[in-house]
């Protein structure tokens, strides 16, 4: 049987995916980070500090909540929400920033940079930087600055400098390019907290390890509540950090089915989507080999999703590998379907999900109908929807 815990290999490869494709100036910083992480990975004291922060500052463990009313109405499988939206700062992103901030502290670097799409990773990073007294610069696509104003203001309140990026498609990928440029320039003083399981080795590995807490908790909680493992896991996939976080601890349990939900935007056939696993090709961007949305000339394509957090032309290399290995089934959900999921869970369960999470919810509602009431699905409720109210109102033509 395949042991999924053995990946990545020593050079950061997940099969043909992953690796370290960056300019020479960044090599030393990546090697330094890899050495540091290899050291702390086996140091119980490091993990003790990390878990202390998660418990006392973030508020973990997050509940595994049985969405009974929703499940009864569907009449299919029982749906459980892993409530990452209840974390401090409102999303799973903080699990990773807590871990990387500890690495930054150990490396002695006083300046933190980050890139953000929906702003959740930016807010989490600004929060940790405020707590540790570190300078914080967050790069954000100019279009995302516009559609996520509330998170921009939160970051500024926390003392971070938000830099709008006007190059390219003015979204997450361009923010990542700009953060890389900053890092190249200030590599001696600066720690780059990448927000998802993408980028050059060792980022996909260490971000996964910090997010794996989601699945570890969910496994224990589900066993306690039902006495068995779940039948299916569902999570949205942009870069893919919340999905890997939920999936990782279950990868070797082949009886647990897994579904990663990409944003198919206006529909794959329209070309206006953010679904590299469904409609992309293997290539190299942002330091790793993975499925990408690129045209016939290899230029990176512009993406579209109603959810800024899913609006990215690539995906973490481990997801590309899990797709190739057929361990995870990658499916899609349109803007329209995600809005329906958003309203459904808001009205039936009193939980307003992030539009990212609404993609996972919408797919889970469909999936549940194909299953029986004695079966269970865990959906990762990766973040809360406060930040997206503006986008929902705009999409539905609502003015207050």
């Amino acid at each position: 049987m395949q042991d999924f815990n053995q990946y990545p290999d020593a050079r950061g490869h997940f099969g043909v995916h992953g690796g370290r494709f960056v300019s020479e100036t960044l090599m030393a910083a990546l090697e330094e980070l890899e050495t540091l992480y290899n050291k702390v990975k086996v140091d119980p004291k490091f993990w003790e500090e990390y878990h202390n922060d998660l418990v006392n500052y973030v508020g973990r463990p997050t509940p595994l909540y049985h969405a009974k009313r929703l499940s009864d109405e569907i009449g299919g499988a029982q749906i459980y929400f892993k409530r990452e939206d209840l974390n401090h700062t409102g999303a799973h992103k903080v699990n990773n920033t807590i871990g990387q901030a500890l690495l930054a502290k150990m490396s002695g670097k006083k300046r933190i940079i980050a890139e953000t799409g929906a702003g959740q990773h930016g807010v989490a990073t600004a929060t940790i930087a405020a707590r540790l007294g570190l300078e914080c610069i967050v790069y954000m696509g100019a279009d995302d600055v516009e559609r996520q104003k509330m998170n921009v203001y939160r970051m500024r309140l926390l003392g971070a400098t938000v830099v709008p990026v006007t190059s390219g498609s003015r979204t997450l990928k361009d923010a990542m390019n700009e953060a890389m440029r900053d890092w190249v320039t200030n590599v001696d003083s600066t720690y780059y907290i990448i927000g998802t399981v993408a980028g050059p080795h060792p980022y996909p590995l260490l971000v996964r390890d910090f997010q794996a807490i989601i699945g570890k908790e969910a496994r224990i909680q589900h066993l306690q509540m039902t006495g068995k493992l779940p039948d299916a896991l569902v999570a949205c996939v942009g870069g893919g950090s919340n999905a890997i976080g939920l999936f990782f601890d279950f990868l070797n349990d082949t009886e647990v089915k897994m579904y990663g939900v990409e944003a198919t935007g206006d529909g794959i056939e329209t070309g206006r989507h953010s679904a590299p696993l469904a409609a992309g090709r293997i290539g190299v961007l942002h330091g790793n080999r993975t499925y990408l949305m690129a045209d016939d000339e290899g230029q990176i394509q512009e993406t579209h999703s109603i959810s800024a957090g899913l609006d990215y032309p690539g995906v973490g290399p481990e997801h590309s590998f899990l797709k190739d290995m057929k361990r995870v089934e990658y499916v899609g959900c349109t803007d329209k379907e995600s809005l329906e999921g958003f309203h459904e869970v808001t009205r039936k369960e009193g939980i307003i999900p992030a539009l990212e999470s609404a993609h996972a919810v919408a797919y889970a509602l469909k999936l549940a109908k194909t299953m029986t009431p004695d079966q269970t699905i865990i959906v990762n409720m990766s973040g809360r929807g406060d930040k997206d109210l503006h986008s929902v109102m705009k999409a539905e033509g609502i003015e207050l």
Binding site: F21, G298, I300
Partner: protein
Amino acid sequence: MTRIESTFEILKAQNKKALIPYVMAGDPNPSNFVGLLHDLVKHGADMIEVGLPFSDPMADGPTVALAGERALAAGTSTRDALKMVAEFRQQDTQTPIILMGYLNPVEIIGYDNFVALCEQSGVDGILMVDLPPAEAGSFTQHLTEHSMNEIFLLSPTTLPERREQVLTHCGGYIYYVSLKGVTGSATLDTDDVATQVQAIKAETDLPVCVGFGIRDAASAKAIGAHADGIIVGSALVQNFADIDGNDATAVAHAQQKIMAKMTELREALDSLSVSSNG
């Protein structure tokens, strides 16, 4: 011997430093580009680095990144860039051409196809910014089979053991990145560059050329005194920044400014060999 290697032998015999301009293929307009290459040679270029436009150039500063955006907007693809080099080769069989770009457009074409196309077009060396030696295996193999030089970067952050690894894989010349930062950054530390270039030269017979941050006669002289050649990109490319690429008069005027800069740099480098001869 490749054209790059023989050019450096000639330069060495003449006690001259290599002037290597960098221009973006198809910037500002594909129809002017081959003429631009010939003009660069007339104004003192010993070899030319040709940028391949890419949508997400992570290691480039705003000047070169915008050059790439202009080239893409004008419709220049990687294959188009190779056709331009082939056209240049019809008249110029001597001046080495080095392609500098990012991996993804090359991956789409396929390493074997791309390298074969490069050879047919008369390309002499290739520098892939985001392809370090550790990941370059099959790409390196194709280049070796086609007798082309694979050029790698070294930077101020490169540690000695890594430097050794890069030098083992590098051919043609070493491209030493003079500073931490993206292309076109400011503030050169000449003393630091001199120390680093000396350290590299102690470990290799390859010529060492320095790029990033060289913009005028003074910086060309300061760096040229220590290196075998200088690479100048942003200071040239920025002349296309604020013009309409379809306005023939504006393009011609920008090209005149580029050639004036080339003359300035050439004279600065040649003054070094005169003084060392004297």
